[in-house]
Subunit: 328 residues, 2 copies
Amino acid sequence: MSRLNELRMITRVAQMYHVEGLRQADIAEHLRISQATVSRMLKKAQDEEIVRTTVVSPPGTYGALEGALRQHFGLAEVIVVECAEDRDGAIMARIGEAAAHFLETTMQPGEIIGVSSWSETILKMVDNIHPMKAGKAKYVVQTLGGMGDPAVQTHATQLTTRLAKLTGAEPRLLTAPGVSQSREAKLIMLADQYVRETVDLFGKITVAFMGIGSIEPSRMLARSGNVFSSKELADVAEAGAVGDMSLRFFDIEGRPVKTPLDERVIGLTLEEIARIDRVIGLAGGQAKTNAIFGALKTGVLDVLITEKFTAQRLLAMAGLAPALEEFT
Amino acid sequence: MSRLNELRMITRVAQMYHVEGLRQADIAEHLRISQATVSRMLKKAQDEEIVRTTVVSPPGTYGALEGALRQHFGLAEVIVVECAEDRDGAIMARIGEAAAHFLETTMQPGEIIGVSSWSETILKMVDNIHPMKAGKAKYVVQTLGGMGDPAVQTHATQLTTRLAKLTGAEPRLLTAPGVSQSREAKLIMLADQYVRETVDLFGKITVAFMGIGSIEPSRMLARSGNVFSSKELADVAEAGAVGDMSLRFFDIEGRPVKTPLDERVIGLTLEEIARIDRVIGLAGGQAKTNAIFGALKTGVLDVLITEKFTAQRLLAMAGLAPALEEFT
DNA sequence: TCCCGGTATGGATATTTATTCACTTATGAC
DNA sequence: GTCATAAGTGAATAAATATCCATACCGGGA
């Protein structure tokens, strides 16, 4: 059979199948060949690029950005959400919504959810979760102590409790400060039975939502309720840290930045985070771009949820700027 | 779930399925949803035109032309072949090859093949058929008597016999002139037992290959071995005929043109042709364009095999010229 | 508040598609 | 030539996909 005739035949089969929507058996009958041959021709049509399938992102979705981020940072999933303006308030709201949806649609029954309690983005997520009737989670584990300020403590507790209620899980609180006064103080805290029980669950967490923080002294200080001194923060920044997850610092290349603070923090370590099956990072915004970049480089994240402006900046930082033209 | 989030999800699923080539079950696992939902999302992706599938005709094939002809003339199949130049010799060779391939790939065992024996295009077809080992045809039936000239008679006989041999069938010859001297002469011919047997098979033919002839006195006359007088041909042309199949004439609108000749012709009538399951018309070339157009309009053809120049002319005649731009 | 119709879901299953297998035919080396 | 190898085929069957069904949930009206 001449090559041209074969191609003609394949094209016709592809036409019937993809455009006219006929079934392979019908095509086979029409052309008086076997269904097996039709199947093979269709495969060949793919190989020869006689049929071309393109997936277009609908307006307001960012398939190309997501794909590039997944690829470059080796993530299992990336969600890039639409965001009208590059402003923190709007950004957190959008990311929170997306994260809530993600949690709702991907949560398995019996899951043990870890949550670092004081990220505002995570707060927005919890705000957007609908109460679940079935398919309940098992525990919601607070993975970082509350901050010094009792009001913030309460806040953390409430967040965890609320998430637990929404997911039908039992809350496991960390009734301790996120940062203890000293190594010794931390050990004392850990001796507490309830704290102990929660910490023991760290290794069992199946999915963790991680806020990503940037090292920006003023904001950080505010966030910490003045637990850290300016001096301490300056030291951390000095050591190259660009951001933190659960108060564990890393530099722009994702390398952990060890500091004396580490042994005072009561919460997940980066190693523990890395061992969790699914770790979802939530963050966006101009100021956090470097922190997110570093967080991605640590390799502990499996999923990133962010918005389009940050996504574009991250790709630009990764040296994929030329490709940006596609991502308008 | 927000509409945007749903679209995002669908886009991602389509991406995984069509671009990354994952199976639905894997996608379902990855996204923690059921395979059923993935299937539904993919369907939705089609509906929402998030995935677009296009079938492109490889160079040298004419899917668009074929489609337009099928559509406009209500044909089951159309084959348009590449042809370097709009010249009769090359055209017949190309069409013959394609027809041979068509016969080989679509013939069913036990088929009864009808063949109007004196078209040069059909001759070319027979030249290009490979001997078939299995899946033999039952009979090859000569559907039009030979011409007056005994040499042509022999030619017709050989063509039929050869085709029968190649397809593993038994030849059924029409040992009579295509055009008898008179109505009475025809009746006498039909009284012959062998002729009778062949004619009786006309109604059993399952697939017929039809040459399409144009009414162009000089050519026609030559073809007929001077069986027709110039006068007779002029009369036929006068009556509006533009072409013939098996010496049955029709006008440009496909209406049969009745002439006194009809009752002298020993061969299939248009009505008999129309009753055949698959009728394949073979023809191409500038001079035959009107004839082919008329033949298509008769509605007796199921398949047309022609070449690109004629295909374009036919569409132009049909008033589909504007669309021609697509068919470069 | 409760009930209803409409929509979405996953498990089970029917349908459709891809692959395997046994066999045939074409091709090229010798 | 003839042998081995490669390529292609359809029937049978395995695998993948679409659909059915029973159920759950949402929003709106009594």
